[in-house]
Assembly symmetry: C2
Homo-oligomer: 379 residues x 2
């Protein structure tokens, strides 16, 4: 019987899975929070919730974000979502007419692209480099494309792990005003930084009404809670609050908002996040060592945040063609082509270090190296 | 600070509010379920969930529905939603192209109509009588309108309280095959029956792929959990499972699914529902007495289920025009025109008995009677 999204094969190491390890999920934190919440105002969190999200939760969330971002976040500029995917879905329904052009990074998160497709939007991908979306020459493209929305993952991008520098962020915001499009910044990895702090969240640029910054507790606490937020200017927040979905169903996840209110009020989030960061940092170190040993010719940057290594295979090897052999050796990954809107990036793979412990990651990389060696020997 | 959707004015009795009373919300049940769940496989419910919904939860939900409906419900025909509103929203995104015609009852639930509007659908309302949607003459209208979807509330309708008889249900299902449209049956009140059991849920008619039956724990357990289900044929379930939203975010509410799995497994739902039914039945009796006493000329049927009295005011009084006077006397209601897609039903009001205790309901009706008397005296 299936409870969780991904079913795991015995003895198979799927480095493609971008999910937290079961052992890392904060059962103890949620237990403490549930005990607290269910003995304080529990009934209010079982009722239809305020459309914008619980005021107390938004207050303590704003404080958490202010501390984390280093600039002041206002509770009235926060809208509580049931995760970044749901927020993107709602934004598509309310702000992007069917058939409109949406720009995305090449490569980008393939499941977000599916949400755009379900809304019958026209996706146009824009080139990136080692610092994310290239802003030089972008103006002409925008003038030509008239996008309604630009969807991007500015910090520790999925799949590349790359972070957009401050100057590019500011230039994009300028362009969004000039060419009147919405920037939807999917920042679910923002707080998972290990070595460096990323530039300011797009939440710093919401004034003027062209930016929606999406955050989530999925990567920093627990995906099963389905809880996230949108930071945006008042009129955009108001449009979401007045939508049929919100008006009819009430706020998006009142009960789990109540739980996470307690997590934040009991000051359990920062210590848990510190644990996560330390764990992921160790895993990155182990995986980097393994890559040097078993895939010495692969090209990649060591991730400074997020979940992923983005790796170019040696000799232009085709990552999809390699899959059957990898499968035989009981290792999985995501081929780069899955993240391309243009059928490109065939010699790239995305490897995640979030799901497995260090020893398993090393063994996974060893198997991948073996698969590559066999493939090359045969070529 | 606002936690819940509706803010209440001191000493004001808003008979318009269609929500359960705070005192009725099952804090004790949820506490028991949370203790159980957080000590059994808690981590699995904090992870990204299976897109269709937790298999264990669907198993016990299918059993619950089979017992309640009196026919066998298959777990593989259930899709877990985060409430009926969210299910309707997803159905609009995936199955109804923008600009398509959606038929609804006249009158119908005004907040569902807002969801349809957000998806830029063309709403056409169809006439009803004391037994719900009129099926005589419907065929010509369907041939003319080519609707993609028919949205209806077949049991204890919102606002009228009316229930669609079995023959009309079966005729509609025939017509949906013949004219190739989807029936979306919003059955959130189905289990709130007091005197009579409603005819079979539309879940009995899913074979053939033209029916989606929506249910929810909002009215029978707690709205703040945001948990519901869709019963449909495999290919429709599969389309929802494969949507971008589900693929990206995982199942819709894994954590609260886990809680309600425990509610059902610990056999807490049926006893709680029995309590609710008994309470609502007493309230209906009290309200009926009060209506006889304070609004003797109003025309209505005593509700046999659901949340609402649907009342025709005497002398063709305009319910919206009456609002300021009612407000002065500190009583509220929903004017019928809000439920009309045609600006009609001006002399109707919807009164709910779900939110207040008996004494308060009686006082509310007394105030409403007084407002009407004053209005008539002035006319």
């Amino acid at each position: 019987m299936q409870t969780v999204q991904v079913e795991f094969r015995a003895d198979f190491i799927d480095l493609g899975v971008g999910q937290p390890a079961f052992s890392l999920l904060p059962t103890h934190v949620i237990k403490q929070a549930a005990d607290h919440r269910l003995s304080h105002d529990a009934a209010a969190y079982l009722q239809y919730g305020a459309e914008q999200g619980d005021g107390y939760f938004r207050e303590v969330l704003a404080q958490f974000l202010s501390d984390g971002y280093g600039f002041s976040v206002r509770p009235d500029r926060l809208f509580v979502s049931s995760g970044a995917s749901q927020a993107l879905d709602l934004i598509c329904t309310l702000f992007v007419p069917p058939g409109a052009v949406v720009c995305v990074e090449e490569p980008s998160y393939f499941l977000a692209l599916n949400i755009l497709a379900d809304h019958q939007l026209r996706v146009v991908s824009l080139p990136t480099d080692g610092h994310g979306l290239i802003v030089d020459g972008l103006e002409e493209r925008l003038a030509q494309l008239h996008p309604t929305m630009l969807y991007l993952i500015p910090a520790f991008q999925n799949p590349t792990g790359v972070t957009l520098p401050r100057e590019r962020r500011e230039r994009l915001v300028e362009l969004s005003h000039q060419y009147d499009f919405l920037i939807v910044a999917d920042e679910v990895y923002h707080f998972l930084h290990y070595d460096v702090t990323p530039p300011p969240s797009f939440g710093a640029y919401i004034d003027g009404g062209h930016v929606l910054a999406l955050g989530s507790f999925s990567k920093i606490l627990a995906p099963g809670l389905r809880l996230g937020w949108v930071q945006a200017e008042a009129k955009l927040v108001q449009r979401m609050v007045l939508s049929g979905l919100l008006d009819s169903g009430g706020g998006l996840n009142p009960f789990t908002s109540g739980l996470v209110r307690s997590v934040l009020e009991l000051d359990l989030q920062w210590p848990y996040l510190a644990e996560l960061r330390a764990t992921y940092q160790q895993r990155i170190a182990a995986m980097t060592d393994a890559l040097q040993r078993y895939l010495p010719d692969a090209v990649y940057a060591v991730p400074q945040g997020g979940y992923f290594f983005w790796l170019r295979l040696p000799d232009g090897l085709d990552a999809e063609a390699l899959l059957p052999r990898a499968d035989e050796l009981k290792v999985g990954y995501r081929p780069g082509i899955r993240f391309s809107s243009q059928g490109g990036l065939r010699d790239y793979v995305r490897l995640s270090f979030a799901f497995y412990d260090m020893a398993t990651l090393v063994e996974g990389v060893r198997r991948l190296g073996q698969a590559i060696d066999q493939q090359r020997a045969q070529a």
